[in-house]
Structures are given as C-alpha cells and as structure tokens.
C-alpha cells in the first residue's frame, strides 16, 4: 500500500468543498443540533425537560449517528469510487503503469482518513456534551464511550466500503448515492418489515449492526425485528465489507479506461 497514493486520495476528497462541507455538517451538525435543542428546552422549562446530557441522551445520539454518519459515508465513498472515472482522470492514472489494484486499494484508507476523524469528532462532541449538560443525570462510563464510538465508526466505515465498491462498479457517483440512500432508508426497512422473508432478513446490514450495538447505550440491539447469533452477525458484516470491495476492485481492474 502506497502512502503517496493514499495521501493523493485524501487530497482529492478534502479539496472538494461541497463534499467536505456535507461530510462535516451531517455528523457534527446533527450532534450539535441535538444538544443545542435539548439544552434550550431544559433551560426554558427544567421541570418538563430533563438535562440535555447524561447517558440516556448519549444513547439517542448514538442511534442518530449510526443512522446519519452512513449518509456522509455514502457521499465520500461514492466520490472516492467514481470521481476519477467521471473526471476522466482514471485513464491518466492507469497510463502511469501503476497497477489498477493499487489505485483501487488506496481509495479505501484514503476515504476513511477523511470520514472517520469526522465521525470520531462528532462522537467526542456528544460525549463531551453528555458530561457538560448532565446535571444530575447519570454519565456514561468509559466502556460505553469507547464501545459507542467504535460502533459509530464501524457503521460509517461499512457504509463507506459499500458505497465505494458500488461506485467503482458503476462508475457513477449520482447513481451510487441514490441507490445507497434508498437502500439505507426505505428499502431496508421495507424488507425488514416483510416477515415472509424470514431468516433471509439477516442478510441485511442494519440488523447485524444493531446486534452488536453497545448494550450499555442501546439495550436489546435497538429492538430489531430480526435476531441472529454473533457468528452470523460477524459473517453478515464481513460479507457486506468484502463483497463490495471485491466487486469494485474487479471492475477497476477490467474497466476500459
């Protein structure tokens, strides 16, 4: 893996102002907005609204972050996967003689290097707010903080690799964003609600993610309709990571540049 290629990928992503703005705004903005509203409500009517901080509100933040950080991840992954092809730059990278596999491989850490620090910062902001505005509420323990952060990062990273693979496969950023957002929100939820699908619903990424959500913050995996063993959960998550990457690498290898 070439550090120079990874740095170049990061440069390409972070210098896109629109992408950078949304990547920062979605996770950080949501956390900031949530605690801002909760703090204002508490300040306005402390009797009706409890403190904005504390472990209960941090759990809500984690669910929000687990839902919205993947949206930022989709934007970054779609751009990392299809940006070079759409701009016509892929051809110029291929004619350097550098292997296409290496060009693809650099997109994985390159995009994560932009995304994960933002998600981590959003989580740390939430943790800070949960202590700062705790009032008399219980504050989260170190285990919950670490596991919650790890889980948010995992949710974002998974969405990133799926979007990256799909964008590398399709060569279209817009199509990838559309398909991924449709999948993450209405389609997955519709499929999960179809009980006739039975155990096949375990193949959907969201229940697997909910299964390993930190129990200190999201007891019972968020009440998912689908139950599965830890082994099946890990298998599902591994497949959601590996299959898109293999498909994207294959297309990058075989695409006419």
């Amino acid at each position: 893996m070439s550090w120079r290629l990874i740095k170049a990928e990061l440069l390409k992503l972070r210098r896109r102002r629109g992408l950078l703005a949304w990547t920062l705004l979605i996770p950080l903005g949501v956390v900031g907005l949530q605690y801002g509203v909760l703090a204002a409500l508490h300040a306005g009517d402390p009797a009706a609204h409890g403190p904005a901080g504390g472990v209960a509100n941090l759990a809500t933040t984690l669910v929000l972050l687990g839902t919205l950080a993947p949206v930022a991840a989709v934007l970054v992954g779609a751009t990392a996967g299809a940006g070079d092809v759409e701009a016509g730059l892929f051809r110029d990278l291929v004619v350097t003689g550098r292997s296409r596999r290496a060009l693809f491989a650099a997109r994985v850490p390159g995009g994560l290097a932009l995304l994960l620090p933002v998600v981590a910062a959003a989580w740390l902001l939430a943790v800070g707010a949960s202590f700062a505005f705790a009032g008399g509420s219980a504050t989260p323990g170190l285990g919950a903080v670490l596991l919650g952060g790890g889980w948010a990062l995992l949710a974002a990273a998974l969405a990133y690799v799926v979007a990256l693979g799909l964008a590398s496969l399709s060569g279209s950023r817009a199509m990838t964003v559309g398909v991924m957002l449709a999948w993450l929100f209405p389609v997955s939820n519709i499929l999960l609600s179809i009980s006739q699908l039975g155990g096949w619903r375990r193949a959907i990424m969201q229940p697997a993610l909910e299964r390993i959500a930190p129990s200190q913050l999201v007891p019972g995996g968020g009440g998912s309709a689908v139950t599965m063993s830890l082994a099946v959960t890990l298998l599902v998550l591994a497949l959601w990571s590996i299959v898109p990457l293999v498909a994207g690498a294959w297309r990058t290898q075989t695409r006419d540049a």
Binding site: L5, R15, R91, L93, V94, V95, G97, S99, D256, A257
Partner: protein, 324 residues
Amino acid sequence: MDAMESPDVVETVGLTKRFGERTAVDRVDLRVPRGSAFGYLGPNGAGKTTLIRMLLGLTRPDAGSMRLLGRAVPEQRSEALARVGAIVEEPHFLPYLTGRENLEVVAAAREPAAHGRIPGALARVGLAARANDRVKTYSQGMRQRLGVARALLADPELLILDEPMNGLDPAGILEMRGMIRALVAEGRTVMLSSHLLDEVEKVCDAVAIVDRGRIVAQGPIAELRAGAAPTVELRTGGDQMGVLALLAAHPAVAEAVGTTGGTSEAIRVTLAPAGPAEAARIAADLNRQLVQAGVTVYGFGLARASLEERFLEITSRLGTEAVA
C-alpha cells in the same frame, strides 16, 4: 537484445482491435524509431486513438503483439510505462484542484522522484506562475500544456501525444511544435497522432499513414515524399486546350489539367513516378516541346510533393481499390 538497446521504442506486430463488426485497428505492424518525432497520421476514425489506447494498456487488443521501450506489453506493462508519458485524447484534470495539485495526484502514482519533477515540468510548459490556480480557471491551451507537464513527470523516454494541437491557438501550436522538437533534441522520442498533415510534416521526422485501421505507408517523411508522383506547374499563353493536349501526348505525363478552370492559363502536370533527376529531365523535355510548338511559357517549375499530396494519393488509391 536488452530492452534498453532496442532501436525501436514502439513495435507492434499484427495488432488488431475490433468493435463488434467493425475493425478499428487492422493487423498493424508499426515501428517507431528511438530519438525521433514520429507522426501517426490518418483521418478521423482511422483508428489512431484506439492504437494508442492499446499501447498504453487502456484497452485490450483482439490479436497481435506489442513492445514499448523493448518490453512486452501487457506482460511488462508497468516497467515500460514507467518511462512513458502520454496524453490520450484531451487531457483531463480535477477542476477543483490547482495545476500543481493535479500533478501531485499523478506523481503519487509514479516513482517517488516524480514529485520532485513537478516544479521543473510546470516551468517548462510556462505554467509556474499559474500553478496554484484551480484548473477550472485554465484555458484549453493551458490545460493542454498542463497535460504535457503531467507527461513529463515520468522523465519519459517516450512521449505519446494524441492530437496535441487540438484546441490550441496559432501561438500555442507554435509553442507545442517547439516543445516537441526540444524534447526530441534531448534524445526523447515523441510519437504524436494527428489528422493535420501540415502539422505532422512540420514537426515529425518519420510517419506512418493509417487509413481505415491499416497502415498504408510508413517511413521517413523525405522517403514518403519521394514516392509521390512528381508534378510540374506552369503558366502559358495561347489556346489552353491545345497546350493540355500537347502535354498529355508526352509518354511520361500521367495527367495534365487546368488548375483554376477553363479560362485560366495555369496548368498542373502530373508525371509518371520518377526520381528527382529523371523528373527534372522530363520537365525540361516538356518545356522544350512547348517552346518548339510556339507556346509562350510564362512560368514553369517542378513542384516538390508535399506529404499531403502523398497522403491523398495513397488514401484515394485505396478508396478506388475498395470500390473496385
């Protein structure tokens, strides 16, 4: 033979690429000599870009073999392309990055030394002062020059430029010509594809003429020109029809035509293929015959065949053969 000692930087044998029923590149045997400016010349749709794309590993051939800088492609593609710079069709960049950042992105895919070549490459193409501006503010000509700078990051033994004059204004074309000749003077080889015969003739030492995917002539430009039928251009007084009939009756004349219509006295005479000395002898003989016949000759000269005439001659002959 050691790869570095190969006298030809590009060698293809029977290279073929088909798109469905259409054969874009048809059994091409190409040799580009080291240290030359080589033109790959043909009309639009002749398969020039497809051949370049195959050489660079952008698309796979259906048949044939190729070597770049003495190395088999695609087997040793990475080693070969490490010393090849290329612009395929128009150069593309990320418009939101600066010129320098665009070069950094491509330098990252090359050897570590490529990064150190960025300032020199930008200076060489005259973009040092605009290097920190976003590419979206660049003109077409500046993008073309930035494309050359990007190709130079490889410190290339071979530069492959696909239609490098496209989009350039006259001053830009002049600069590009000078840059290509300077690169050749440094011992590099420049292979350029073009449909602009005049440009190729001005810049290149050798040429391959391609038509409908096939190479129809290949060699040094002087040799190709010599293969063209010599022509005589003259201006006469008197009855032009009579003069044309007199000229056409000469056994060494292939064709004699008034060049600007029936009322003009200008005549163009195409001789049967002949070397320079023989053509001069025939021209003198024609002049003598005209004078002896009482025709007033105002102007008379043996024309130097241009590459354009040779190109049209070859391709129109192919067209006739195809119809036949």
